[in-house]
């Protein structure tokens, strides 16, 4: 039977032109320049911090590819800040940085395939590390084929990456800086490892650092069924690299990739000492199939069990412990033998330069403090759930706080009683609109018809709110509380205002009068009388109304005035002192109510005009009386 097979090109061909002077067996070192795909700011900073403690002359990240934004990314280089250019496409980045031969790909599982493919097909990128978990197996297989054809490397998918000690760090590999220093990763040792799991690479760094002169390089090939590069690919590189004296392999139950290493050791293609262990020896005690964390880790046939793999590795001369518990001993044993044989002189330790603590980290540790520039006392978006003044958003709905309740929380920081919540909602409803002819609505309509967007049109309307339009709510609150709180009689207020030639805000209506009262006012006054604990401002205003209506029938307390004074009484009713009410009035709280309510109407008018497709408004000439002098007055 004929089988059509793809030939594997292993080990990698010996002349990779693009790598320049770089040895074939080195895919990352202190000269590696990388492009990071995906705007992973923390990972980029971590790579740069690693570069810095390794005393690299230049940062390892030369460019960032961010499909949604280009420009510059600012980050730290030691204590200094530097800029790294950011491009929208990989094409631009590789064109400008042809010396970058490594791509750290943070693209999601959806876009990991097309972006990695583009990188592998580019002239300059030689190695792609794919971090994403969940890349479809078929897509990975396609990438593997391209990589083989182009003599390129893939690390991953589903990996943290890998690290060249003292040289280059893929993304987040090896964790925090203190851990990196504790594991001596800031300078190259002589032991190289390859592991399936990325999560265990920190532990490997630790074990190797404690039992040898440290890691030279470590790669986590990732937990997928078809890793872009396998154990043997990296171990053959390690075998060729004279700076690597021994290797550590951490395999896993499932798959048969470890047997390629067994084969290479048997054939003498790997001669350096290998310490190996495959995890998952416990799979035999599980009753039925249990899926471990990694996609590749399911024991099917006997050959795929950890026990059988460990045995096979041991038979070809690898140092294999009886359990992971002796893994450290075996590493130590292999290393000690190497040193005793005189084949290797331990590499001395180096003091790393210190990196200033990140502000965020220091803050978390409680070793620094700084006065905040901003204070917020009304809401908090951090944590599990958004909270308004301490109340979780889910409770706001469950407990039916309503619009009035929420305004109470965000404006007054109070859990308002039902009457206050209802009052606020009534104010919003009452002020929601007053027809298209009033200044604000008119402005909104004109702006909308001029083709402006909703927000601009809304703002155009809101800008008219002030002393003449909509300002009566604010004005009446101001006027009435000023005299009431000063202890003046209504009589005095009317006289005093008259003598100053100022109209009392909130008094007077074009049509409505004592005999033809405004139903809106009646409703609000009745509601307040029935529910408010305090109605002092309302009572005062009604006394004033008695005086003004005795002069003219239509000088009644109008709806704006009514809302103005009732708002003040509401504030008193929910526990504020007169002084505090005045503060609220001064900071414009009444306008806040009016703006909130009337925005509903303005937006309604704007949407109305948009739906009607109303055209640009131009005021007719005949409605403008043109009175123009023949010539301007001449200034001497």
């Amino acid at each position: 039977m004929e089988a059509i097979t793809v030939t594997k090109t292993k080990p990698k061909s010996k002349n990779v032109k693009k790598a320049g002077m770089k040895k074939d067996y080195i895919i990352m070192d202190k000269n590696t320049k990388a492009i990071v795909f995906g705007y992973q700011q923390r990972a980029i900073q971590r790579m740069l911090d690693f570069d810095y403690i390794c005393k690299r002359n230049e940062p390892s990240v030369v460019a960032i590819v961010n499909p949604t934004r280009d420009g510059m990314h600012k980050c730290f280089w030691g204590t200094k800040e530097i800029l790294i250019p950011m491009y929208r496409t990989l094409g631009e980045a590789t064109k400008l940085y042809p010396n970058a031969d490594f791509m750290v790909n943070f693209a999601s599982f959806r876009s990991a395939y097309p972006t990695s493919k583009e990188a592998l097909l580019s002239k300059s990128i030689r190695t792609v590390a794919i971090i994403a978990e969940g890349v479809p197996e078929q897509r990975t297989k396609e990438l593997i084929k391209i990589a083989h054809e182009k003599n390129k490397w893939i690390i991953g998918p589903a990996t943290v990456g890998g690290i060249a000690a003292g040289g280059f760090r893929i993304g987040n590999t090896a964790g925090m800086l203190d851990n990196i220093v504790a594991s001596k990763l800031h300078r190259a040792g002589s032991v190289a490892y390859v592991s399936k799991s990325g999560g265990l690479s920190n532990e490997l760094n630790n074990i190797i650092a404690r039992n040898t002169d440290g890691v030279y390089e470590g790669v986590a090939i990732g937990g997928d069924r078809y890793p872009g590069s396998t154990f043997i690919d990296h171990m053959m590189r390690y075998e060729q690299n004279p700076d690597i004296k021994m290797m550590v392999l951490l395999g896993e139950v499932g798959g048969t990739d470890e047997y390629e290493v067994v084969e290479a050791m048997k054939k003498g293609r790997i001669k350096k000492p290998v310490v190996a262990w495959c995890i998952g020896t416990c799979s035999k005690v599980f009753p039925a199939e249990v899926q471990f964390g990694h996609a590749g880790a399911r024991a099917g046939a006997d050959r795929e069990t950890a026990d059988v793999k460990n045995k096979a590795l041991k038979e070809v001369g690898a140092y294999v412990p009886t359990s992971f518990d002796d893994f450290d001993e075996q590493i130590k044993k292999a290393y000690t033998k190497l040193v005793k044989s005189g084949k290797h002189k331990p590499i001395p330790d180096v003091e790393p330069p210190s990196i200033p603590l990140d502000y965020a980290v220091a803050l978390k540790q409680g070793v620094i403090r700084r006065p905040a520039q901003f204070i917020s006392t009304i809401s908090d978006d951090r944590g599990e759930e958004l909270r308004y003044c301490g109340v979780k958003i889910s409770d706001i709905f469950n407990e039916k706080w309503g619009l009035g309740g929420v305004i109470g929380l965000l404006w007054f920081k109070k859990n308002l009683p039902p009457w206050a919540r209802e009052f606020i909602e009534r104010v919003v409803l009452l002020t929601a609109d007053h027809g298209p002819a009033v200044s604000g609505a008119h402005n909104s309509i004109i702006a909308s018809r001029a083709g402006k967007d909703l927000i601009s049109s809304l703002v155009s309307g809101l800008l008219t709110i002030g002393p003449r339009f909509g300002g009566a709510v604010q004005g009446s609150a101001d006027h009435f509380t000023k005299y009431l709180y000063a202890g003046e009689e209504p009589n005095f207020m009317v006289k005093d205002m008259k003598s100053k030639n100022v109209n009392i805000q909130g008094i007077g209506h074009r049509i409505k009068s004592v005999t033809n009262p405004d139903v809106r006012v009646t409703i609000m006054v009745d509601f307040a009388k029935k529910n408010f604990p305090v109605t002092e401002t309302l009572d005062y205003a009604l006394e004033v109304e008695k005086l003004t209506t005795s002069k003219r029938n239509n000088l009644i307390l109008n709806v704006d005035g009514c809302i103005g004074v009732l708002c003040c009484d509401m504030l008193r009713g929910i526990g504020y002192t007169r002084e505090q009410v005045r503060e609220f009035v001064d900071l414009g709280i009444l306008n806040a109510f009016f703006v909130l309510g009337r925005s509903i109407g303005f937006m309604g008018h704007i949407m109305d005009q948009k739906r009607l497709k109303s055209r640009l408004y131009r005021h007719p000439w005949d409605d403008i009386e043109y009175i123009m002098p023949d010539k301007p007055e001449k200034v001497k």
């Binding site: 039977m1 004929e2 265990l200 035999k284």
Partner: protein, 423 residues
């Protein structure tokens, strides 16, 4: 995220739906199949599926296990009433299949097809592409007739239309079927690739008149292909393997795991075991379990447990409580201590002290019970802020009066296994 088995019903359902798109418009697979689950109203089925009353039927369980014939779990050549009775006798009943026992809950009903030849085809993913396996001797354990199987390897980006499949079929392929089979195999391969299958085996398929009918089908999907193929997959479920019936506690953790972005895993292996693990990290948890087994304490191992991916304090609290509850239900009959291993490797960026917060809350809740059943706790962990985390655990031991031994990265990861069990 991996290759996951699907029901025979789902495989056949997709095949029937996309038959004309990928395989052929000339010969067909009518796709007469019905899935019965515990909620199915059997008496209502013939209204929707008229053929149930018109044809003789085959019924078998559809729960990801094979060799159903050998286990007496196929009812063939049955009327609908016989099939109904057969299902009712077995629905929700404990059934032993091989070494495992579980409830039968899902059955597939199809027409009974009298036939002559039985053929075998399978497609399996491998690193270099996919391999098609074909034999004219299907319907039996294929391993026993492996020398009759033709293997056709299709490279990763190879176009199957450019291959002469007909010429690669075994010599004993009936001449009258060769062309149709080649077309079927090509189409099946395209279907397999397009829908992100990782394994598809039809053993056997048969020929009736102009049609090809797959009688028995086993398949696995690559579930990471979800974003590419979910539309074509339709309403798909990935059932747990037969025999993996979850206990109440396991179910609880599984639901928590599914709802969370973090990973929380619990398998109870032996509730009477004395060694309980609560380990951070997928790899780490496997290693601890390995070590307990490898050091010869297999019979004492109570559970496999893992938490990772930054679970919230609430989640670790619930998780820890579940384990503590299980392990403190009864004393060891011989009065020996029980051990809780709160293990883990060196975390990358997770704040160790923070992840311990939920565990310490749970330990406080169980203070009395921990003492009652004589629990000794061993902690080993490294990573950001681990010193603080370890200090919290050490202080907690003093506070509760429960022995808690605490170690950091200077101690080999699994050494606490030996400290607990060896000493």
């Amino acid at each position: 995220m991996a290759q996951r088995g699907i029901r025979e019903f789902d495989g056949k359902r997709m095949l029937a739906k996309y038959w004309s798109e990928y395989i052929s418009k000339d010969f067909k697979f009518p796709g007469k199949i019905v899935l019965v689950d515990p909620k199915t109203k059997l008496d209502d089925l013939p209204k929707k599926y008229k053929w149930l009353k018109e044809e003789k039927l085959v019924v078998k369980p559809d729960q990801l296990f094979g060799k159903r014939g050998k286990h007496g779990l196929i009812k063939a050549n049955a009327t609908f009433d016989e099939a109904k009775k057969w299902i009712k006798e077995r629905m929700n009943k404990d059934t032993k299949v091989g070494k495992v026992t579980d409830k039968l809950t899902h059955f597939i009903i199809e027409p009974f097809i009298p036939h002559k030849g039985e053929f075998y085809v399978a497609i399996k993913s491998n690193r270099e592409g996919d391999t098609i396996y074909y034999s004219n001797h299907g319907g039996v354990d294929i391993e026993s007739v492996w020398k009759t199987v033709a293997e056709i390897q299709i490279g990763v980006d190879e176009n199957i239309d450019k291959l002469n499949i007909e010429s690669k079929l075994p010599k004993d392929t009936p001449n009258e079927h060769k062309k149709m089979f080649a077309e079927f195999i090509k189409g099946l391969f395209k279907f397999y690739k397009e829908l992100n299958y990782a394994y598809l085996e039809i053993n056997p398929f048969v020929v009736t008149g102009k049609n090809i009918i797959p009688l028995d089908l086993v398949a696995r999907l690559d579930d990471t292909g979800h974003f590419e193929s979910s539309l074509k997959w339709g309403d798909i479920t990935f059932p747990a393997p037969f025999g993996r019936r979850l206990s109440k506690e396991e179910e609880y953790i599984k639901i928590m795991d599914e709802k969370s972005g973090a990973s929380l895993k619990l398998t109870v292996l032996n509730p009477k075991g004395r060694v309980w693990t609560m380990v951070a990290g997928g790899g780490g948890s496997v290693i601890y379990t390995d070590t307990i087994v490898d050091l010869g304490y297999r019979d004492e191992l109570a559970n496999y447990g893992e938490y990772s991916g930054n679970p919230t304090t609430d989640q670790t609290y619930e998780y820890a409580k579940t384990i503590l509850d299980l392990m403190t239900r009864e004393k060891d009959p011989k009065g020996r201590p029980k051990f809780l291993l709160v293990g883990g490797g060196i975390a990358n960026f997770t704040d160790v002290a923070k992840t311990f917060a939920g565990i310490t809350m749970a330990l406080r809740d169980y203070k009395k019970k921990l003492k009652d059943v004589n629990v000794k706790i061993y902690v080993r962990r490294g990573g950001p802020n681990y010193q603080e985390g370890l200090r919290i655990m050490r202080d907690l031991g003093k506070e509760l009066g429960v022995p808690i031994d605490v170690y950091g990265p200077e101690t080999h990861m699994t050494r606490i296994v030996n400290m607990a069990l060896g000493g």
